[in-house]
Structures are given as structure tokens and as C-alpha cells.
Point group: C2
Chain length 332, copies 2
DNA sequence: ATTAGCACTCGAAAGGGAAGAGTGCTAACA
DNA sequence: TGTTAGCACTCTTCCCTTTCGAGTGCTAAT
């Protein structure tokens, strides 16, 4: 009970909590002295910490861990919160990316933390159509459309050795052969399966394939969105520019963040402070939840904030949001 | 001479400059007392300021203005800087967006300021091809390709009243009629010119047009890139979280920034502090330069930093970069 | 098991020099 | 008339001390 009060209070105030304050809390009918004894025990067990020898207590990481594992009460979201979330899905057009972007924005707005989302993994989608549109004698744009409506595109120069009509033929054959195969297999199968077939139609097959491949796959697909980075500045624990800088330098490393979010089993996961394994994230908590299409995992939505997060509210929000995303995508 | 020394020194150190320090400078052969007299005059004329009654001097905005207007020496860029810039254009593929993105990154890396770029204005480009690819009975993706290789795409739901074949017909007619017209005219001409023609082919013309239009134009084209926001944190003038927050809240307002950059005549423009008209930018300077294709203005590249910017180096960098961009685009 | 009482600790805030960088002004000098 | 030495004065920064109060741990009593 005391641990719960301390964590709840600390989440609100960001200040160490003293025995007297706890004894005044509703539902607590012990004197400060009793509470001090219990607090000393909780500290010995590792659930609490002091900022200095005569300060009140703050939760340790172990304390937070216990809190999120055993003391998380279901939080009743306000009407307003619920409305703002459902507004995300109130859309005229079927557009995955739009929903993904709106989701990440609403999550950071509602929590005042930084929110990150990993969009549908393009390579898991299947090939719907491949196209090359020639812009001039030497340049063209390649467009790849997946069955999930994702579009990747890329301009490139046409090398002199390859004629426009050859590229066109190549594209036609690829479309015919590879319709509906997973994009992720496109690369390897392009090389193995159709090299021979093409030889008869096209001069310089390998070069053409190489170019097409470069045009289609050389770029990171942009399915990574972030929102509310500046929200961090409002948190009292980051009132020091040094800290802000070290945190921002981590958040800006897109690859690192993608890895952090990608490696996730289905469901919701909370990582507190050092559990994140990254030095610069020692003072941060990361909450991530997956969303899916017909049960098949599509991506991850995550929230990054101080360890002193409003866990129960945040968990409710992120759960509602990820469920709604899954539902909407599946409906579509 | 004294004004120049003060500004040069202040750009380096961010500290008020005293008379003694100036007298020790090479090329100055006057005693501190003489320099104090001159500094008092410069202050009366409005070119210098004091932070408190017995402090050294710092440049005023009028001082900076005079400096950039009359005292900017051509800066010799280091080999390394030049190499890093030319590396941006050393590309296998013709890809405007790629170059634009690389440019904004290199500029913020080289300067440690925040860099923003406005990509080619999509609406000024011409229609190359319009396409609708149906994903399922009720959803499709519309793709618009311009003569400059820009691709806009958007998923949408097909309303029950419109058949897939009608949409296809519509697209065919649009492609035929409007090939090579400026995108910016597409909207109005779609309504006016072909409503009648289509009536005979398609039921429900207006609804179909409305949907197509929504699919193509409802989204802001993303030709806005920013890089190096966190660089601001390294500047000593922003060691206060309050300031950082107010500045970030401005930079994050994309529309506002686009407006700031869009309204630019050809060439390079420097706006110092209050000249920016925006409260939150009082302590910032904005340097913007246009780049073009065959003399036709394409976009703007800009740099945002403290008023105490290394103007001569930065101006050289941004000039070199924007010229290279223009040259590369024109070559392509 | 709980509590009152009390000595003790520590941080935050306020106050007070001392040091030092810099100024403006005056008077002297070339 | 332009330049400079000298000097009193101003203001910031740094450091030390004091005071205040919130909070603790421990002991003894209930």
C-alpha cells in the first residue's frame, strides 16, 4: 500500500515523498513513524531509494517494475481521450499511412511523451504491380505497388547499354512471373528464376536487373514515424540541456530505434530504465505494443518518456489505440 | 575595424568583448582607452550593446546587419568541406529527392545549425502519367507521376456508386487530355473541361471526379525536409530549456516554415533576429538561398541558427550548395 | 505492532565579502 | 585634435557561511 502511494504520488509530483505526506493520504491510518519503519524495509528490499540521507523516498527501478507487474489498475479513460482516439479512425479514405501518422500524433498529444510508430513492414507485403515510366531518354521512375496499397518509388538514370524497350520487357516479365509474391522474396528470385528466360529477350540482362534492383531497394522504406519529441522538454527531469541532448541523439538514430521496436513479441511490453540496455536511455521508459491485420503482426507503436510515467493511463491509451488500429486494418 | 573585430570575436566566443582584448588583436595599434572611446560612439550609433553597465560589448542587430551588408569577406572553404558537398552530387541515380535530402543533411552537419529545405514545388511540374491500381473490390491506390520524376500516391476507398471500370475510363481520358499540363491547373481543368465529355461515358461523373481529386490532392506533398534540430542544443545561447522549447515549437510548425521559405526572390537572403517578424525567432537568424532548374526557381534551402552565426562561412557553404544543386538539376 | 519524541542530516535559499573584468571620465601628452 | 595613462566606479561570479525546514533513524513508551 505504501509503495503504491509513493509511486502514484511521485508520478504526479516528481518530488521525493516523505512519511508525513503518506500518513495524510486517504486510506492510510498509520502515523509517520510507522510508515518510516515500513519505508526503511522497502528500501532494504530495493523498491525505494533516497536522493540524500534525509530525503523522502522515490521509487527505484525495481519498484517501478513491481508496480507495473502487480499494481497496475485499469484506468478509465476520459470521454475526451476516447473521442480523440476514435477520431483517428474516422476517415474517408483507406490509407494505412495516414492512420499510422495520425495515431502517432494523437498518442504523443494525449500523453505529452514522445511517440514512435513502425508502419507496416513493406517487405512482408506482396507485389501488386511494378512499373517503369520513362521521363526522358536517360531517366525513368520505377514504381512498386503492394497488395496493401503501399507505394515505393525511385528515379534512376538509364545506362546507355540498356534500351528503354528492354526495361519495359523486363518489367512485363517480372509482373507476370512474380505477381503476388512477397516483396521480400523479389530480390533473390529475380536473380535466380528469370535470368535464363530473359536472356533470349533482352541483351545485357544482368545490368538491367542490377539497375532495377538498385532503383527499387536501395532506399530504406519510410515506415517510421515519430511525434512529440519536444514534449520531453516539458518533463521536469529533463530541465538540463545536457540530458536533452543525450536523449535526442539516441532518439534521432533511426536504425537503433527501429531495432528496438522491431524485436517485439505480440502484445504490450514495458521496459524501464536500464532494462533498455542503452546507456542514454537509463532515465527513460519505453512502452511498446503491436498492432496487426487479421492476427498477423503488422507493426509496433511505442511511447518513450521518463521512468516516472503515468503507466496506468498510458497503458490504457496505447492498448486502446493499438486495438483500434488492428480492428480498422482488419476491417479494411 | 573595431566593429569587425568585435563581431568576429563574438561569433567565436559568444562572450562580450572588452577594449583590452581588442587592443591586443593583430592589426590594431591603439590603446584600450582609445578603443573605449570608439566603442562608446559605436554604441551611441546603435551598432553595439552592453549586457550590463560595465560589461564588454556585443553586436546589436543593427551591427550584424551592417556586418553582413558591408563586411562579409569571401570565405575560403576547406578541402574537407568542399569534398563533403560534392559527395552529395556524386550519385548513381537521378533522384531529386535523394539529392535534396542529402543536401539538407550535409548543410546541418557542416554548420551545426538547423537546416531546412523546400523541395521542388510539385504543382509546378507537369503531368506525366496518372494511374489507378485497384487493390480490392473497394479500395484502390491512385498514383500521379510528374515530368520531373516526382510521385504522389494515395490509397482510397471506391464508393459503391462508382464502378472500377468507370474509374479506369476516367483515368484514361484524363491522361489523354491532360498530358503535360501543369499539375497546378489539373484541379480546375478537371472540373471545367471534361465534365461534358465524360457524361457520355460514365455514370456519376461528379462523384468520381470528386473522389479522384480527393485522393490526389488532399495531402500536403512532402517536399519539406529538416535536419540537425538537435544541433541547436550545442549553441551556448540555448542552454536554457525554456528557450529551446519555444524555438522548437516554432520550427515544428511546418506550414509556418514553408511560408517563411516560400516567399523568396531569387538569390540569397539573410534575416537577423527581429527581421524575421516572429516573436520566437528574435534570437535566431535565417539564411535562405534558392536553387533552380535551367534558371527556373525550384525551391529554397535555408539555415536557422543563433544571430551569432558564422555568416561568412555559412554564406559560402549555402551558396556553393545551392549552385551545385542548380547545376546538377539542370544537367539532369 | 504502533507511536511520540528527539537528535541529527542534508539541501535550498539568502546573505556577504572578495576578486576581477570592464567601463567612463579626467587630465596629460604629442 | 587625436591618443593615452590613471583611477574611481560598477557589476558579475564565485565561494563561504548562516538559517530554515523537511525529513530521517533510533529509542523508549504505549
Amino acid at each position: 500500500m505504501i509503495l503504491q502511494v509513493i509511486i502514484d504520488e511521485f508520478i504526479q509530483s516528481a518530488q521525493p515523498i516523505g512519511s508525513r505526506a503518506i500518513s495524510k493520504k486517504e486510506g492510510i491510518s498509520y502515523s509517520p513513524a510507522t510508515i518510516r519503519n515500513e519505508m526503511a524495509d522497502l528500501e532494504e528490499l530495493g523498491y525505494l531509494e533516497k536522493t540524500h540521507s534525509s530525503s523522502g523516498r522515490i521509487p527505484s527501478e525495481k519498484g517501478y517494475r513491481f508496480y507495473v507487474d502487480h499494481m497496475l489498475l485499469p484506468f478509465h479513460l476520459s470521454e475526451k481521450d476516447q473521442k480523440l482516439i476514435s477520431a483517428v479512425f474516422d476517415y474517408e479514405y483507406v490509407d494505412f499511412e495516414q492512420v499510422v501518422q495520425k495515431s502517432v500524433e494523437v498518442l504523443s498529444d494525449l500523453t505529452n511523451y514522445t511517440s514512435i510508430i513502425l508502419g507496416p513492414e513493406v517487405f512482408e507485403a506482396r507485389l501488386k504491380q511494378l512499373q517503369i515510366i520513362q521521363l526522358s531518354k536517360t531517366s525513368a521512375v520505377a514504381i512498386l505497388v503492394t497488395n496493401k496499397g503501399h507505394v515505393e518509388h525511385r528515379s534512376f538514370t538509364i545506362p546507355a547499354e540498356i534500351s528503354g524497350s528492354d526495361l519495359e520487357k523486363l518489367v512485363n516479365i517480372l509482373n507476370e512471373k512474380f505477381y503476388n509474391i512477397p516483396i521480400i522474396q523479389l530480390h533473390s528470385r529475380m536473380q535466380v528464376e528469370i535470368g535464363n528466360i530473359l536472356n533470349s529477350y533482352i541483351t545485357n540482362v544482368n545490368l538491367a536487373l542490377k539497375y532495377l534492383h538498385g532503383a527499387l531497394f536501395s532506399q530504406q522504406p519510410d515506415n517510421y514515424y515519430m511525434s512529440g519529441m519536444t514534449n520531453m522538454l516539458l518533463q521536469p527531469e529533463f530541465n538540463d540541456v545536457e540530458k536533452v541532448h543525450s536523449i535526442y541523439s539516441i532518439i534521432e538514430k533511426e536504425d537503433l530505434m527501429i531495432n528496438l521496436l522491431r524485436a517485439t513479441e505480440q502484445g504490450l511490453k514495458i521496459s524501464i530504465g536500464q532494462e533498455n540496455k542503452i546507456d542514454e536511455m537509463q532515465d527513460l521508459s519505453l512502452i511498446k505494443a503491436t498492432y496487426s491485420l487479421s492476427g498477423e503482426q503488422l507493426g509496433t507503436i511505442a511511447l518513450l518518456g521518463p521512468k516516472r510515467m503515468d503507466y496506468s493511463r498510458v497503458v490504457s491509451l496505447i492498448n486502446l489505440l493499438s486495438n483500434q488500429m488492428s480492428k480498422t486494418f482488419t476491417d479494411w
